[in-house]
């Protein structure tokens, strides 16, 4: 491959050029905050549930171990233990799931200074090894078939939270009311069918 190594794995057209044939997300975001601040926020793993949509909570067990509780479709919950496999302060975090995890995954997040004082680039690589069968299907739905989509959404939410202190939402009804027939007052429903 003539293209640079920095080209993400899932942007490579030919399977032969990819490092892995597993479900993989390589996504990045630029956050207009200092690298140390972004790293510190991310390193406190209980914060992950604040911006990762599918994470119900992360319990920090000790310096390198944490327990993840992840929302799955139809009210199911998937849990696994995660082990920190590498840490370079303000630069890199890598993890893998512990023995017996239902959904094996590993990944790394790199933190780099963006050029020209534009904050911090966060580069995330997440690899899932979905099991076959029913659970495999749950995983596929959970990570939206294309795990990159979920990763991108979560990184966007992290950026919002760190830059503005909140995550933009237009969820019905409080954040964004709209007319929904099922919730409409009786007289409005009657008017609809008249």
């Amino acid at each position: 491959m003539i293209s640079s190594e920095t080209v993400p794995d899932d942007a490579r057209r030919h399977k032969a050029d990819r490092e892995s044939d597993q479900a993989m997300a390589v996504r990045s975001v630029t956050i207009d905050k200092q690298r140390a601040e972004v790293f510190a926020f991310f390193r406190d793993f209980k914060n992950l549930a604040r911006f990762m949509e599918n994470i119900e909570r992360v319990d920090v067990v000790d310096a390198t171990h944490s327990h993840w509780v992840v929302k799955a479709p139809a009210g199911h919950v998937v849990e696994w233990d995660s082990v920190l496999t590498a840490e370079e302060p303000d630069r890199l975090l890598a993890w893998e799931t512990g023995p017996g995890a239902e959904i094996k995954n590993h990944g790394r997040v790199e933190f780099r200074d963006a050029p020209g004082d534009r904050g911090t680039e966060l580069h995330a690589t997440i690899v899932y090894e979905p099991p076959a069968g029913a659970l495999g299907k749950i995983v596929a739905t959970l990570f939206q078939k294309e795990p990159g989509i979920q990763a991108k959404r979560d990184l966007r939410r992290l950026k919002m939270l760190l830059e503005t202190g909140e995550i933009a939402t237009t969820e019905y009804p409080d954040a964004a009311p709209r007319f929904k027939k099922s919730d409409a007052p009786e007289e409005a429903k009657a008017a609809e069918t008249r």
């Binding site: 207009d32 950026k159 830059e163 503005t164 933009a168 939402t169 009804p173 709209r178 007319f179 409005a188």
Partner: protein
């Protein structure tokens, strides 16, 4: 509360919907006192903007009284009277800090932004009442509105100015002003402006405010051209006059220095290219009808600017790019960077340099909104601008 809702092409209703609530710390809720129907709302009315959902609340030009503030709001308090910009900006991201507010990176929710990224390769800022790819925010043609980033967007209106003087700070006055400013008008310049709707009218005023020598207004509706003439513009009715030869001769053979397209994606008229575009659009082969853009490229003086505040949504066909290239034209376009203009334009209104309220033709209560949409769409000679009064 009562709100104006979209239910499909040419189907606008007034429904009872839930009240909005404070959900984020920088939110405010306002009780709407005045809200207008925008020309770009007619694109929604015509069903040409994708990702609308039946039941969505319309409206992005609105103002009102603050009735509730989130815990992190420091610039406003309950009881303040505010005008709200139609684009939502966080004020904290790289683009906001560069005054490129229309590309705010943090106001289009993470579950909505990918729609726009897939279509356009970027996700712009959230907009009020303007489709789900633009964020899915509820619009302002309603009794109450939740406004995010209360410290950054809404501007407090001082005593002594009435609603109709300041309402258009919410969109069309800054939009028109930015379009004129994008032309970087120099002494002696002639500006040609296509489309004498409300933005076009305010664009005529803005071009003069910024020092234009001559403004030429192009449209086919008599009353609208008369209004532009009253602001000091020369008028070309394209049904009576061949536009490009007229522009050449009215500028000593030079052509207009800069051209402004205040029409956008649904240009009227029955020239050959426009009929062809209409056929394609009707058959869903193409989105936009860029007749004005083509004409403006051919009209514009070499080295000039083509400033485009008119909304485009999709693909353009048969744009004379060779002429644009040969003339070395500069194209300036995009959603308005609203937050940059609110304070300076409020000051111009306060000083009496301009009163944008002159474009209002009709005032209705909220319940009459469907009638307002229909007439603004069908009877554009008489209906130049509709203001709704929800409370």
């Amino acid at each position: 509360m009562r709100a104006v809702t979209w239910h499909g092409k040419h189907d606008v209703r007034v429904d009872t919907v839930p009240d909005p609530k404070i959900v984020n710390p920088h939110d405010i809720i306002i009780k709407t006192t005045a809200t207008a129907i925008c020309g770009s709302d007619l694109h929604l009315y015509d069903g040409v903007i994708p990702t609308m959902v039946s039941g969505d609340i319309l409206g992005h030009e609105f103002m009102g009284e603050v009735v509730e503030v989130g815990p992190e709001v420091t610039n406003l308090k309950v009881g303040d009277r505010v005008v709200n910009p139609f684009t939502i900006a966080c004020g904290q991201c790289f683009h906001c800090k560069s005054s490129f507010f229309s590309a705010c990176e943090n106001s289009n929710p993470a579950d909505k932004a990918p729609m726009m990224e897939a279509l356009y390769g970027y996700a712009g800022s959230g907009l009020f009442g303007y489709s789900h790819m633009m964020g899915g925010y509820a619009g302002g043609q309603a009794e109450y509105v939740r406004i995010p980033f209360g410290n950054v967007g809404p501007i407090k209106i001082p005593e002594g100015l009435d609603d109709e003087q300041v309402l258009f700070l919410s969109d069309i006055f800054p939009t028109a002003y930015q379009a004129a400013e994008n032309c970087n008008i120099q002494k002696g310049d002639t500006i040609a402006i296509w489309g004498m709707g409300p933005v076009g009218q305010l664009c005529v005023k803005s071009a003069f405010l910024l020092g234009a020598e001559q403004v030429i207004a192009i449209d086919h509706r008599g009353p609208r051209l008369e209004m532009a003439k009253a602001s000091g513009a020369e008028a070309i009715n394209f049904e009576e006059v061949k536009v490009n030869p007229a522009l050449q001769e009215m500028t000593g053979g030079r052509g207009p220095d800069h051209c402004i397209d205040c029409v956008g994606l649904e240009a009227h008229g029955w020239s050959v290219d426009n009929v062809w575009d209409f056929v394609k659009t009707t058959l869903k082969l193409s989105f936009d009808r860029p007749h004005v853009l083509r004409q403006a490229i051919i009209a514009c003086k070499p080295g000039g600017t083509l400033s485009i505040p008119g909304v485009y949504g999709g693909l353009l066909d048969k744009v004379p790019f060779g002429a644009a290239f040969g003339k070395g034209l500069t194209f300036k376009m995009g959603q308005t960077n609203m937050h940059k203009y609110l304070a300076p334009l409020l000051e111009r209104i306060q000083k009496g340099e301009i009163d944008p309220g002159f474009i209002i033709s009709h005032r209705l209560d909220l319940e009459s909104a469907p009638e307002g949409y229909k007439n603004f769409h069908d009877n554009q000679d008489e209906w130049t601008k509709v203001v709704l009064r929800p409370n």
